[in-house]
Symmetry: C2
Subunit: 203 residues, 2 copies
């Protein structure tokens, strides 16, 4: 994976505590706290036990989303794909996370399976320092995804968007330009534009 | 809502930082860090802006899952239903969370809508103290949900389940009994039972 993605995968591992989101068999969202157990060059690794609804959801969908809060109040989010890997990964997880032995002593660790999150994309977001900042990343063949807005050629240069922006991250131009790295993605510019020139990049 | 539910709704608010999980239009799980802005007698309140994919997912599904980590290393999870409420709730949120004015100054706050999480069920889980403990809660007409295992009358009293349990929370009886409050829900008892007497309560 590239250096930027590795930086954020390592950050997930350093924070360690993350929320994992899945979709259950009825299509409802489910979330629970997990640990990111390993961060390797080929992705992140987690474990869970075969008796849990979480396990079933992971196997049935092959998908997981993660969100984590860094100690200094920045946040991470991620959406990716995963698969079960062999038992040697359970041993690697226990070697690097020895506290797991208190919860699953001895042979009982093998009720767990390890999952390799082999591909995905995510975003780091810092809401608490001005200006707010965001950076996207991806690995395993997935592509970075930017969910914000773009100002198109229909822009009439009136500046309504720049006035409306809570973070003042829109600068004049033809058309006006949103500074993506500092954008809240709140959509106030799109609502303010009289020319309907501000569109969501991924509708 | 009952006292037990209020205790955990208040805890979500006290922790404040939570991960919110949704299902997107393609059925994929999505997660991001949010704040639980208010905990009232009728449920929790959050805000988000109309430009975000998160907003669209909330409106289209009417569903959200939350997971949070308490400061003393216990965790909370929750699945519930929500709806947009009127703008006075945005003002209430800003009154009780004044830091929001730095991100959305002045009138720009009204690009946000407030959502009332009016019903749902969840679980508190403490993995770091022995014995591990869990407690379920629900409000708004939803019912508490226990996702673990139960030992049925087919139990032959061999004790294989009790031996297999990593947390030693199964006691002899006819049939043997799982102490739900201290169960990992790992399923090792179910795999160990020679009589196929251990079943998931909600298959």
């Amino acid at each position: 994976m590239n250096e930027k993605a590795k930086k954020y995968v390592d950050l997930f591992r350093r924070v360690k505590i993350a929320a994992a989101a899945t979709v259950d068999a009825e299509g409802h969202p489910q979330a629970r706290i997990i640990n990111v157990m390993l961060a390797e060059d080929d992705g992140m690794y987690i474990v869970t036990s075969r008796g849990k609804p979480f396990y079933k959801q992971l196997v049935e969908t092959g998908e997981i989303a993660l969100a984590a809060m860094c100690p200094d109040c920045q946040s991470l989010k991620f959406t990716g794909k995963l698969r079960v890997v062999d038992k040697s990964w359970v041993d690697k997880v226990f070697a690097q996370n020895p506290g797991m032995n208190e919860v699953y002593p001895g042979e009982s660790r093998y009720i767990l399976d390890a999952f390799h999150i082999y591909a995905g994309h995510g975003e780091w977001f810092d809401l608490l320092h001005y200006p707010i900042s965001r950076e996207t990343f991806a690995y395993g063949g997935d592509t970075e995804e930017y969910n914000g807005f773009v100002i198109q050629d229909a822009c009439i240069g009136c500046g309504a968007c720049a006035s409306a922006c809570p973070q003042k991250c829109i600068t004049p131009g033809t058309p006006y330009v949103i500074n993506w790295a500092h954008c809240l993605q709140c959509g106030r510019c799109a609502e303010a534009c009289p020319a309907d020139a501000v569109r969501r990049l991924h509708p």
